[in-house]
Symmetry: D3
Subunit: 186 residues, 6 copies
Amino acid sequence: MNAVFVNGLVCKNPKYVKPEDFFFSGLDKAGDTSKNLGSNVTLVNVDRLAGLNTLGISLARIDFAPKNGLNPPHIHPRATEVLTVMEGTLYVGFVTSAPEFKLFSKVLNKGDVFVFPQGLIHFQFNFGAVPAVAFAGLSSQNPGLVTVANTVFGSNPPISDDVLAKAFQLDKKTVDWLQAQFSNSN
Amino acid sequence: MNAVFVNGLVCKNPKYVKPEDFFFSGLDKAGDTSKNLGSNVTLVNVDRLAGLNTLGISLARIDFAPKNGLNPPHIHPRATEVLTVMEGTLYVGFVTSAPEFKLFSKVLNKGDVFVFPQGLIHFQFNFGAVPAVAFAGLSSQNPGLVTVANTVFGSNPPISDDVLAKAFQLDKKTVDWLQAQFSNSN
Amino acid sequence: MNAVFVNGLVCKNPKYVKPEDFFFSGLDKAGDTSKNLGSNVTLVNVDRLAGLNTLGISLARIDFAPKNGLNPPHIHPRATEVLTVMEGTLYVGFVTSAPEFKLFSKVLNKGDVFVFPQGLIHFQFNFGAVPAVAFAGLSSQNPGLVTVANTVFGSNPPISDDVLAKAFQLDKKTVDWLQAQFSNSN
Amino acid sequence: MNAVFVNGLVCKNPKYVKPEDFFFSGLDKAGDTSKNLGSNVTLVNVDRLAGLNTLGISLARIDFAPKNGLNPPHIHPRATEVLTVMEGTLYVGFVTSAPEFKLFSKVLNKGDVFVFPQGLIHFQFNFGAVPAVAFAGLSSQNPGLVTVANTVFGSNPPISDDVLAKAFQLDKKTVDWLQAQFSNSN
Amino acid sequence: MNAVFVNGLVCKNPKYVKPEDFFFSGLDKAGDTSKNLGSNVTLVNVDRLAGLNTLGISLARIDFAPKNGLNPPHIHPRATEVLTVMEGTLYVGFVTSAPEFKLFSKVLNKGDVFVFPQGLIHFQFNFGAVPAVAFAGLSSQNPGLVTVANTVFGSNPPISDDVLAKAFQLDKKTVDWLQAQFSNSN
Amino acid sequence: MNAVFVNGLVCKNPKYVKPEDFFFSGLDKAGDTSKNLGSNVTLVNVDRLAGLNTLGISLARIDFAPKNGLNPPHIHPRATEVLTVMEGTLYVGFVTSAPEFKLFSKVLNKGDVFVFPQGLIHFQFNFGAVPAVAFAGLSSQNPGLVTVANTVFGSNPPISDDVLAKAFQLDKKTVDWLQAQFSNSN
């Protein structure tokens, strides 16, 4: 028998659907923040929770190490994110599009909520002395993640250093060094 | 000067937009669960956080009193909900549409996640001895809330008791009594 | 050869598509109103008329027995309904969402039209002495149907009677009796 | 006080909304088929039923004179139409897009249903000896109507007859005569 | 292994996707304008550039022979078109829907841009002495094309000449002659 | 009289709409490539061509200086772009999202077409000895533009250099120098 696909994913025969198809477990566990610049995102999207398919939403837990745990500047190509702080303190912000490039930033404490509109570069930073934890809703079952530095300096194969040197006003030696750094980090 | 409206809401002049327009405070505070069947929903939708307009998402905190705190059967007409338990234990479920009327239910513990698809009746119930807290993302900046019992028995003006007696296979005396109860509760 | 699927349904090779793929027959026949509370819905959705797939619309005929034929309170999770009366008289209505729970109702005669917005609980009731017939357009090829009483009291398996007793302010004995009634009716 | 607009239409203050805002009356009345090629469309769209705004659906009654009452080839730029015959017999059809230009046509009797996909040219024709009546649902609150002959030959100002003569392989005299006909008919 | 389909088209395994899947070559070549009324459309849609699937856009080059090269009145059922002239001069226009049937037309020179809204009949005509070239973006990866004359007079099988004679106020002999012309041209 | 707004923009009374409302002039003129890294984008979006409102498309001309004219890495938060080369040669590419960060790049010659999916970082670079010109369609009337370097290093106010130093693995002195560069360039 052929499988039925919706959005490129297998769509289970309704007869055999179970509560577990709408269930995911483990968001109480802190992510490992010893790598990745001191942050860790646990994203419950359609890959991990099949019942989200076509429903236009996902959920994430983000852990931050104390003293500079960083979720670095990134974009979700298909989702707006609304985040709330569960523990600790975060400096967060997003930048509007050209030609204003306005930074809207805020220091968030426990219980504060902030919005990061679809397709805009944003970040979250824990400058505090204790770990921070945030939860976020995203307006797609498959939001996607474009980490700016890794995308620009760590792509595979690399972007021409002529392009990057000019775009970032850096000499090529610095670009090459950055590319080596991020090439290792992916 | 006239105001500019988007989706029926005032759209601020971009020049005067501030970080505060994307900010909400207070989700760390437990809602009062002494009324409303022992639950309390704090919904951060476009009415409370203007920056959500057009962005298709909102966030909620739901508090449950211990020993039977109930978020009773309800529907969001314009949103799917994905919920995670922060504290305590919840018995949750939703029922599929006709003709199957299948109940998909689950007991959720801390860190568990469950999906309630758009337009389906669902509930959350704290049968545990301690308070429970959940956070949820909803796939609309204005999800709407149709509480089944209040809608059916507590509308203003009331639905004809001929209709309700037949629909729920109750005698009219019981329906009238229910309507009196829910009329008071709104 | 593998079948091609769109929205989880087989998409016919365009070469072999025929006029019959856009055709359905039988909306002139009155539905049997001797069961189901005295009403009967004939819904022409994508399951019955394959050519509707992706096109966002379906059509229904609703028959009502005289003297209290009822299409009981229900919701379409994915569609708005616009209905017109062909024969007889109907008392119809829908209830807005929280916290207003306003009932918008109307007695409709032949040629009258009424709108039931997506995701809101609505009903149609023939209190007249002759049969009534209505036709309706729905804004989805797969609108779905959530009949409130059957969903709440007749799901399979049943919702905990603790939940329902509290939600509807009924004693558990009444809830159990209702569950027995609706369990039989599905 | 300023009015609030949604989709360019005034959005009433929810406090003052009444059941009448979701109501339209008169679809039981046959349209006048003595003009317009022997057909008459009564369209209940958002202009006539304000409560349809944003809800993505409208409803139409179409009357046909006996012996060649015609709803001539036309397009709805923003809607699919699903039609059912209430009385009489109709020859209906639509043509697929380039390069096939396949005609899918059918003779419809009472109770038959046919689909006319969005943006495709379609027509309905009563070749029978008695009047015909059809009802249709359309997947937009503002479907729009592009009558082919009136659009092509009766626009204001007229399209250059060089263009039309070449496009329709007619001599300019015939085009000019057609333009005179349709110019009068609008 | 079964293929995965999205929108009825094969969706390549991401592992094997190559730059070529987002690439098309040949828009620098003038289309053959010796047939088709003196125009030629090279449309880069999802059939020719698989990487456009789900992305809602396509691109076209349109060539016009000098002295009356015509892209005849047509409709895109699923797309708005925005066109710019690269070489030569074009008389272009579209007609609004009923009941106004207003023609919005303009003579476009090199560098001019014009919009043809979704589902409205439009045309482009080169009345100049030199060839003309235009490029256009369309708001769908599969815009579709309904050429009015070919659809109406050249469908397969043909539309009844009773319908067409009445709709276009032509005698049946003229209609039959037109049908013979367009039948040959498809 | 109050103005009517759609999407936050004034919607003209249909009576007074003119062909000019669907018209823009000047895409034949080369943009000034002496600044902005040697490229210049002329974007015909809804701000410049009011008739595009709600229609989901815009058009752009991009000019590139010879010898390293660069349209630097950027994102359109609300649109996919499909581009074709009119003159010259371009090295173009986009990078997929995490965790693959694959670069899909290609050297494009006259008549070649490439797709840049919504929300992904992409660039175009003229390494040739002659000027290059490209035209592009974008799948939104208001695509937005997030230039990566200006957003990250040139926002107003600036993003904390702690964040940027860590995210890009640069020392703060380099970050401060970059911020000074891009602060001047906006």
